[in-house]
């Protein structure tokens, strides 16, 4: 068992012949393959439904309005900031500065929470004020359906990421993740960046194209 995993993860470490990374990293990357394909299924379905001829699909600007897209663009920016904060966590941890790492991790979690808050606000607004107007205007009912499925599924990932990062934060506070446990933070970071990466695609395909 490699020392860096000792207190956080149990299980055997890499063998004599390996890819030269921790087991956990391969585990996370292969998990991300699976997760990416889940999104691929939904996104490809979205593409098919939307580009079927005469699908009566509204342009995003008509559906969300100028303010809506501005707000979501801000949300994208917040998630990117949260992502870069996560890189800072790892960088500070590698320098051995756990106080700063902890602060950056709090910023990361805060970014995720703000993202979720804005999204909840947006959902409420769309449900109450917007989408029934679209339906009355005869637009494709799959526009809101795919919208909620995609953003909801992504939002669930953000929520899971926030919980994941909070667990790491608590582990740092209790001294269970120290400057030696870079791989734990790195793997959490992989998940968090992946959530950001998926948002880039969802934002482009749902709100912009």
């Amino acid at each position: 068992m490699s020392a860096q995993d000792g207190s956080v993860m149990e299980g055997p470490g890499p063998g004599e012949e390996s890819l030269g990374v921790t087991n956990g990293k391969i585990g996370m990357w292969t998990f991300l393959v699976m997760d990416a394909m889940t999104f691929a299924g939904i996104l490809a379905g979205y593409a098919r439904l939307r580009w079927t001829p005469d699908s009566m699909w509204p342009f995003p600007i008509d559906a969300f309005g100028v303010i809506g897209i501005q707000l979501t663009a801000l949300n994208t920016f917040i998630l990117i900031c949260s992502s870069v904060a996560m890189v800072h966590v790892l960088a500070e941890q590698m320098r051995g500065n756990m106080d700063r790492a902890e602060k950056w991790l709090m910023a990361t979690i805060g970014g995720g929470l703000i993202f979720l808050g804005i999204q909840a606000f947006e959902w409420t607004h769309l449900i109450i004020d917007k989408f029934h107007l679209l339906m009355d205007a005869g637009y494709n009912q799959n526009f809101p359906a795919t919208f909620y499925l995609l953003t909801g599924f992504h939002g669930m990932h953000v929520a899971v990421g926030v919980i994941y990062n909070t667990i790491i934060l608590m582990a740092i506070r209790r001294g269970r993740v120290t400057k030696d446990h870079t791989s734990t933070v790195e793997i959490a970071g992989l998940y968090w960046h992946f959530v950001d990466l998926i948002w880039i695609l969802v934002f482009t395909f749902v709100y912009l194209i």
């Binding site: 055997p12 004599e16 390996s18 921790t22 889940t38 494709n140 359906a145």
Partner: protein, 557 residues
């Protein structure tokens, strides 16, 4: 209280458990040892396989005569084919291969255990609840009747409003979670925990097949999950979600695309580990290295990649563009090439070998012959114009059973007989093993061969009743199915009886011809497989004739 006497990994871990069988049982159910989890997987899949078998017997008895035979109510019959397929695919074949992989792979690569032992246990323990959820309709008498494919609109809340359908969908999502967890674990293990000298192109072909299968599971299963999620939303919130409902701007063909994007690779998930098992068995019982090792590994990868671009051949009759269909036909036929490479490599391995016809080898040879037949009828079905005629007939049933029963199941038997001495430390009864083989091989053809003819003559699949002209063929098929099922009881009885009363097996049981690491450890292996990390002396993997250095069993010194 008698003391539990068992060797190797079967022995109790604590002193208390030696005398207390409940503690011993708890030790098993909460184990993180990949070998024990593998045995749990195999036991679970055996139960589910028998369950699926009973369902198939009910189907065949109903079809023995035209008109009602067993069920006065066709709707109960309608539910059976779907549940038979669900039980066999998701709860029998896939977990059985996962179990074999759990037992064999860590030993074959010289690792003490899987990379994430607790994740491994969790992946197993998702399965029994998933089975309970999937088949919950049996308990509350609300069985969905849309088959294992669950195509909307038949599966939406209008035509299948029953609660059992929701449980079925949820159960399948859970199975997907379980198998992806196992796949993540396998990949991390095989990529990262090999012993010294075990480079990627030294891996035994069974381990290679588990790598490729795990990738297939990772990339394909989530797409089924997203399709099932959409289906659930549509069922749960009618009038809000219309992904597959044209009335709301949806598209029923979308579900079929997503479903087959999973379910076509799924047939390779079900057969590739079998290929790996056959490669092990054939080389051991031919006393030769596998022919064309490198090409065998690459052809599995080619099958996997091609397997992702052929799914629409299940949908030739759904009205997709002719150009698209022709493209998919070409790609589908292309798969015959890597598969052919494998078939011919096995034959070349046997060629000039010193063959030993023990039960595993009999199953392996039976597999090669039968699977070739199944593969050939697959090429027939791949052709667009022919498929439009044969779509949804018994020809398809015959094809899928030739590749899954004569393919996956025979390889599974070969593997179970082959590794049984290693798993249990005992030897099964060879005579009854052979009886099992011959009954299986003969009655498999009795059951399924005539179904080719029925399909070409126009008998549709899944129907409760059929034209009287097919009665004689269905009668033969049903009789064959019953004998085929009963023959499997011999197998179960043989293995269970031998576990207790069999002769002790040797470490390298098969005439000392096993060359992979699992045959270098005691039978049964110890708790952590190896007392100290093993070293693998690389084998020359090119084909060399017997008189040249590296030929036959000689290792590179």
């Amino acid at each position: 209280m008698t003391e539990i006497k068992a060797k190797g990994y079967l022995s109790p871990l604590t002193e208390e458990a030696k005398t207390n069988k409940w503690l011993y049982l708890k030790e098993w159910l909460c184990t993180t040892d990949a070998k024990r989890i593998g045995v749990l997987y195999l036991a679970f899949s055996a139960v589910m396989g028998l369950f699926g078998g009973i369902l198939s017997i009910l189907i065949r008895i109903e079809l023995a005569h035209h008109g009602p035979v067993l069920f006065a109510d066709p709707s109960l019959y309608n539910a059976l084919p779907g549940f038979h397929a669900t039980a066999m695919i998701f709860f029998f074949i896939i977990p059985a291969f996962t179990g074999a992989g759990n037992f064999v792979v860590p030993i074959q690569i010289g690792a003490p255990d899987m990379a994430f032992p607790r994740l491994n246990l969790a992946a197993f323990w998702i399965l029994p609840p998933a089975a309970l959820v999937t088949f919950f309709g049996f308990f509350i008498n609300s069985l969905p009747e849309f088959g294992w494919t669950g195509y909307p609109p038949l599966s939406n809340n209008v035509y299948s409003g029953m609660l059992g359908a929701d449980f079925w969908v949820l159960g399948l999502v859970l199975v997907g979670v379980s198998s992806t967890m196992a796949a993540v674990n396998f990949l991390a293990t095989i990529f990262n925990m090999r012993c010294k000298g075990m480079k990627l192109f030294q891996l035994p072909l069974f381990t290679w097949s588990i790598i490729v299968t795990s990738f297939l599971i990772l990339a394909a299963t989530p797409v089924l999950t997203s399709a099932l999620l959409m289906l659930t939303f549509e069922r749960m919130f009618p009038g809000v979600f219309h992904f597959f409902n044209p009335a709301g701007g949806g598209d029923p063909v979308l579900y079929q695309h997503l479903f087959w994007f999973y379910s076509h690779p799924a047939v390779y998930i079900m057969i590739l580990p079998g290929f790996g098992i056959i490669s092990s068995v054939v080389q051991t019982f031919s006393r030769k290295h596998i022919f064309g090792y490198v090409l065998m590994a690459w052809s599995m990868m080619a099958i996997a990649v091609l397997g992702f671009v052929v799914w629409a051949h299940h949908m030739y009759t759904t009205g997709i563009a002719l150009e698209v269909r022709v493209g998919f036909m070409f790609l589908t036929m292309l798969i015959a090439v890597p598969t052919g490479i494998k078939i011919f490599s096995w034959m070349a391995t046997m060629w000039g070998g010193s063959l030993k016809f023990d039960t595993p080898m009999l199953f392996a040879i039976g597999f090669i012959a039968m699977f070739t037949l199944g593969g050939l009828s697959g090429v027939v079905l791949a052709s667009v114009s022919v498929d439009i005629q044969l779509h949804d007939t018994y020809y398809v049933v015959a094809h899928i059973h030739y590749v899954l029963v004569a393919g996956s199941m025979l390889t599974l038997f070969a593997g179970l007989y082959y590794w049984y001495p290693k798993v249990s430390g005992k030897m099964y009864n060879e005579f009854w093993g052979r009886v099992h083989f011959w009954l299986t091989a003969i009655f498999l053809n009795v059951t399924f061969f005539l179904q080719h003819w029925m399909g070409v003559a126009g008998m549709p699949r899944r129907y409760y009743d059929y034209d009287p002209q097919f009665e004689w063929a269905n009668m033969i098929s049903s009789g064959g199915a019953v004998v085929l099922f009963l023959a499997q009881l011999i197998f179960v009885a043989n293995l269970v009886w031998s576990w207790k009363y069999g002769e002790d097996a040797e470490d390298n049981h098969w005439y000392g011809d096993g060359i992979h690491l699992e045959w270098m450890v005691p039978s049964p292996p110890d708790h952590h497989n190896f007392p100290e990390p093993p070293e693998w002396k690389p084998i020359i993997r090119q084909h060399v004739s017997a008189d040249q250095p590296g030929g036959l069993w000689h290792r590179q010194q």
